[in-house]
């Protein structure tokens, strides 16, 4: 249907406004990160790289960043393996018990983060897991698991299980079938689960605030601590770095996917 010019103009304007509304809060950090003064005032004044320098040289910042990277990487792998296995198992179970189990695994998404945090904190105090790498990994994996389960389950739902029967008839045992047929075909779900798990852990703040201690801080904890203590524009610098990193990651991934799809056609 042909649109009237006026309709088209109004529609375009509304889209633009919504886009600005969505992106502006994120983009505000970019100019702020180059502020000359130690202030988070907007608009910023002058230009300097000092907050980026501070991020790299100040051990409070660089260590917390490396901690987050380490925790998120382990969580991503662990949650992806466990979540994929869970999705696979639930897919092949009888519907009723599978639905119950699925709900159980998904509860961390529904339960308020604070409630979960209090529970985890209470247990960690007794088991001395507060401020440990293991503690962070375990807590974040619980939170990341639902995302992997959802992503992989969605792929398994459209996966044609008759292909597994075909593979068996050709001589492949269950493990070989999974490795050569099932896994490659549900790989998009597994990969997006991996990404979600990484992201979930990397910017988790509520539970992390409870189980952190001065010896082990993750980046979100450090950002929160810094911004509540003083107006340190390093926060903006970190935000800008993360913004560009994720843009490159997601953009690159989409480009790669698009190219592969094109190659197949």
């Amino acid at each position: 249907m042909e649109m009237k010019p006026l309709t088209r103009a109004v529609l375009g304007l509304v889209c633009l406004l919504v886009a600005i509304w969505l992106v502006a809060p994120t983009l505000v950090v970019v100019p702020m990160s180059f502020n000359e003064n130690k202030s988070l005032a907007f608009p910023p004044q002058g230009f300097s790289w000092q907050w980026y320098q501070n991020f790299v040289t100040n051990p409070d910042w660089s260590n917390s960043f490396l901690n987050s990277l380490k925790v998120a990487s382990i969580v991503a792998v662990l949650a992806t393996v466990l979540g994929t296995l869970a999705a696979f198992g639930l897919d092949r179970m009888k519907a009723r018990p599978a639905n119950l189990l699925r709900m159980l695994i998904l509860t961390p998404m529904v339960v308020p983060g604070v409630v979960l945090a209090i529970g985890i904190y209470a247990v960690y105090l007794d088991t001395r897991l507060v401020g440990t790498l293991l503690g962070f990994v375990l807590a974040h994996t619980i939170l990341a698991l639902p995302f992997v389960l959802i992503a992989v389950s969605a792929n398994l739902e459209v996966f044609d299980r008759r292909l597994e029967t075909a593979a068996a008839s050709l001589g492949a045992n269950a493990l070989t079938t999974f490795r050569t047929v099932t896994l490659p075909l549900i790989a998009p779900g597994v990969l997006s689960g991996l990404l979600f798990a990484f992201a979930t852990s990397f910017d988790e703040i509520v539970v992390s605030l409870f189980i952190t201690n001065p010896y082990l801080k993750t980046l979100p904890v450090q950002i929160f601590a810094s911004i509540t203590r003083d107006a340190d524009p390093t926060v903006a610098a970190v935000g800008t770095i993360l913004l560009f990193a994720t843009t490159i990651l997601i953009g690159g991934g989409m480009l790669l996917l698009g190219r592969e799809r094109k190659g197949r056609q």
């Binding site: 075909a166 068996a168 008839s169 197949r264």
Partner: protein, 386 residues
């Protein structure tokens, strides 16, 4: 060569079409195989012996147990009871991936993330065949199904018929002694189906392996098979060549399922060796009687019936009055559906030389008593015609 006479019941001579090559097919023996799902019996004591190198078709309506039988042989389904031997060895409890049986599915089941070549190479890779030997065999298999030029394509880039040919290549590339096909042409249009039937026949001849083919299409079964096993409600009704099933149906179900037929039902009177049936006041008789009881019905093939105008003279044969309900010109002759006085339908096939009739014509259907197949009535025979 007529494959209908090639293999049947002749172990040791299976490969007359392949001189100098010993049989690579495996004989299959199913003995009293049953499969129950809860209280539903999908298979109820199926016994079937398939000779090495034979082309056996399992024919029947949907839900008759033919696919379940195939799945039991393939190892996708475990039978509830019964014995199953492939190539002389029991395979009960052997998982599907260890049976070394090729399977072609109705839905192709090609791996969408692999090219045609990699699909066909898949079973070879699993068997440790590598390098030049693998390439050679992939090419040979693709050659056999005339898909050699498509090796680098993905399945999504092929038509249904092409995909099924690739699936066939993948199922034969590892030289299985037995190939199972589950309605492989079911999703294809008629022209393509007819051409692929001939291709499958040729490949069977060239390979000399045992083929077991599942279909609900009786014409397809007649074209392809050495022998046909007719399934109904989880049982085998009859096993025989297409000709045997058509000429000598053992049950009413088989008679109705294979080819066109006219079934005459009515009050029966048996005297001596003769059985007479009364249809709307008219008596027809045959010099036969049912061996083992049951209500007799008469089954007649369309070419055994003749048509004359009502009142016209005819030999002293059985006569039934009726009205032409449908007239179909077939080129080589005509086919008529005649509505008989009792409401049933007679199907008559006439040659070109015979008189032609129009819809609504009052006619008489003539037939000789000797041409009647006398069968026991079976109310289940009607329901299953799908």
């Amino acid at each position: 060569m007529n494959p209908g006479q090639e293999n049947r019941g002749n172990p040791g001579q299976e490969n007359m079409g392949n001189p100098g090559q010993e049989s690579r097919g495996a004989a299959i023996d199913l003995r009293a195989i049953s499969k129950a799902y809860g209280s539903f019996k999908a298979l109820d004591g199926v016994s079937l012996r398939i000779e090495a190198g034979e082309f056996m078709t399992l024919l029947g309506p949907s839900g008759s147990g033919k696919t379940t039988t195939l799945n039991v042989v393939a190892g996708f389904t475990e039978a509830s009871s019964g014995a199953l031997e492939v190539g002389g060895r029991s395979v009960v409890g052997v998982p599907a991936h260890k049976r070394n049986i090729g399977v072609v599915f109705q839905h192709y089941a090609l791996f969408p993330h692999m090219t045609v070549s990699r699909n066909v190479a898949y079973p070879l890779a699993l068997r440790g065949v590598a390098g030049a030997e693998r390439e050679r065999r992939v090419r040979q298999a693709l050659d056999m199904v005339k898909m050699a030029d498509f090796g680098h394509r993905f399945p999504s880039e092929l038509s249904g018929g092409q995909q099924q040919r690739v699936a066939l290549a993948r199922a034969i590339v590892f030289d299985p002694p037995l190939l199972l096909m589950d309605e492989p042409l079911g999703a294809l249009d008629k022209k393509l189906r007819e051409w692929l039937q001939l291709e499958i026949k040729r490949i069977h001849r060239e390979l000399g392996t045992t083929f077991v083919y599942v279909t609900h299409d009786q014409e397809e079964a007649l074209v392809l098979s050495d022998r046909i096993a007719v399934f109904n409600r989880g049982r085998i009704e009859q096993i025989g060549t297409g000709r045997e099933l058509y000429d000598e149906p053992a049950t009413l179900f088989v008679g109705k399922f294979i080819g066109d037929s006219t079934v005459l039902r009515g009050a029966a009177a048996i005297s001596g060796g003769e059985t007479a049936i009364e249809i709307a006041g008219q008596k027809v008789a045959t010099p036969r009687r049912l061996a083992n009881g049951g209500r007799p019905v008469m089954l007649l093939r369309p070419e055994k019936l003749a048509l004359v105008r009502r009142g016209a003279s005819g030999d002293g044969r059985n006569r039934l009055t009726g009205r032409i309900g449908e007239a179909i010109y077939l080129g080589s002759g005509s086919k008529y559906e005649v509505d008989l006085a009792d409401g049933s339908k007679a199907i008559v096939r006439s040659t070109l030389e015979a008189d032609s009739f129009a819809i609504g014509d009052e006619v008489e259907v003539l037939f000789a008593g000797a041409d009647v197949k006398l069968l026991a009535d079976d109310d289940k025979a009607d329901l299953s015609l799908t």
